[in-house]
């Protein structure tokens, strides 16, 4: 047995331990979801399916639907806005300009979700920056409702997600061999055709990876929907907090978590199936 084989066990063991811990945590959540809530107590009662049977109400269906739609919308808009930034970040030759793009794209990451969300509360408010500009320009007479709306939550989520998508896309674009593009150019392809037939397909691994990340990241988003949504845009995370943790109703919180987890798994599986034919593109 060579050294690598001997070391492999030691290298794999920590990941096995972490995976086991995650499985134990998930099992704990699952068993909580099957226990009865005792009002006024932190302890839980006996076996029951009531936590799941009660989830048929419209509030829970709406929360699941909102979460799914917000995740898809955030994924799509983040991708559309982040790709040009990532492309410019990689391909711009001017170092000063490259630094400006990097700082603009990545700095929000350092502020944290809460600070950025509070900033959006000020920007989106009835007397906030956006409404003030719209009224000064005479485009609207009365403030446009953006706070406590699906639109407001989406804008803030996209802003929070873009830096991560930019980083992942930039890494993928940076790995594209420029010779392919030069070959296409030498054969007479214009810049747009080169982009659509060479660059974009070769960046597909990055697009898929960043899309999946943006989707999963948004699915579990809490602070932004909670604060910008103001209770008006229910998502799975905000419901788990409101009905579970703040009320100490851990069984209900656990059942919502299990349903959310199942929906995430199904969504990612469907996404994987839909994008399976794109996975081989970009391999070189």
């Amino acid at each position: 047995m060579n050294m690598y084989s001997r070391l492999r066990g030691w290298l794999v063991s920590p990941s096995v331990i972490v995976a086991l811990c995650i499985c134990v945590a998930l099992f704990t959540v699952f068993q909580f979801s099957l226990r009865a809530y005792i009002p006024g107590s932190l302890d839980v009662g006996g076996f029951t399916l009531a936590n799941f049977t009660g989830l048929g109400k419209s509030i829970y269906r709406d929360a699941l639907w909102n979460t799914l739609i917000l995740s898809i919308e955030t994924m799509v808009f983040s991708l559309l806005l982040a790709y040009p930034l990532a492309y410019a970040l990689v391909r711009v030759r001017n170092r000063a300009l490259k630094s400006v793009i990097l700082i603009t794209a990545i700095t929000p990451l350092f502020l944290g979700e809460i600070v950025r969300t509070y900033s959006w509360i000020i920007a989106l408010g009835s007397n906030g920056f956006i409404n003030s500009m719209l009224r000064k320009l005479g485009l609207v007479e009365f403030p446009v409702d953006m706070m406590f709306t699906h639109f407001g939550v989406l804008v803030a989520l996209v802003h929070v997600t873009i830096p991560v998508v930019v980083l992942m896309l930039a890494a993928a674009i940076a790995h594209i061999d420029r010779d392919y593009e030069k070959a296409a150019q030498s054969l007479g392809a214009g810049p747009i055709r080169i982009f659509l037939t060479v660059t974009l397909p070769l960046s597909m691994p990055g697009i898929l990876a960043s899309s999946t990340t943006a989707f999963a990241w948004t699915f579990s988003a809490f602070a932004t929907p909670q604060m910008i949504g103001g209770g008006r845009v229910p998502t799975i995370s905000t419901l788990i907090y409101q009905l579970g943790f703040s009320s100490m109703n851990f069984p209900l919180a656990a059942s919502l978590s299990i349903v959310g987890l199942a929906l995430t798994a199904v969504s990612l599986w469907v996404f994987g199936k839909l994008t399976a034919r794109f996975k081989h593109i970009g391999g070189h």
């Binding site: 009002p39 406590f148 419901l239 409101q242």
Partner: protein, 341 residues
Amino acid sequence: MIRKIVTTGLVLGMLFAGAARAEDALVVSTWGGNFRDLIDKYIGQEFTKETGVPVKYITGGTMDRLNKAKLATTPESDITFTTSQVGMLYANSNLFEKLDTSKIPNYAHVVPQARISPYQIGSWAYLYTIAYRPDLVPKSITFDSWSDLWNPALKGKVAVPDWDPSHVIAVSAMLSGGDAGSWQKGEAKLKALKPNLKAFYTNDANSEQLISTGETPVQVMLSMNAYYMIGQGSNIKLVIPKEGAILGVDTMSLMKGSTKADLAYKFMNIALSSAAQAKIVAAEKTSPVVDDASVDPKDAALPGVLTTRDQWNKEAIVIPDKLRAEKMAEWRKWFTENIMN
């Protein structure tokens, strides 16, 4: 070489000395920010002056600290400050020690509404009532009654807390001829309030931001927060409707398993002293929980500062803490399903 050993020894000694000192400290669990500062300034520092024992604070949200206390095998603090109804959850989980009030001489002055349970004593009180921006609300609305919240002129202008709907639930029930115990009587009334509700604020800071930006110019707000905003120059008016306002009492308790019970009782006694209570009222515009606090007449005249037995009886709507602790999950579920969406 010897210099390195000596230096290392000195550094380690200082570290361990710090740790040993922390071990001797009385540990108090509380909310962070101005609550921690308030406890330290008016109680903790006096306690250290009298006993020579330092006070160490561990801070966090109400529910976060409860979760941690439930999971801990030994108590992380000696004293816990929390809300009266959440304190019931601590007590029901056997996390609090039954208090020996004979060791707290100032307990004799505690008003009845602040004698929460054998495990909790009120530390200060406040009211959840109506706060509004007079510049953003029709002049004809002065909130003489809770029913003014339902005025159609307030469509899309009102915010209430999302973590505790007990205030509006109790008020709706009261306006419908019931009370918190028969809260279902107020269901229709509360549903009728929906058009006026714009948002459900998530925490005190969110509440303050929404009213200061004018996003929700009318709120069911914690009186301490309203006075804080007024002190910062915000144009906010706080009113106590004729029916009264929902009483909130923050409490202190001795953690089960604490090895510093005698020191904890000393701390609590200082908290209930007339001097400490008067200073807390002056700083935060709370209501003193003792009947012998020397409150400045200007503060006593403020809406929501209860200093006489008559005020406590007439202006404070009390939701029994046991009921609140037992019903909270049910109320939140109903409120989320029927009002927030």
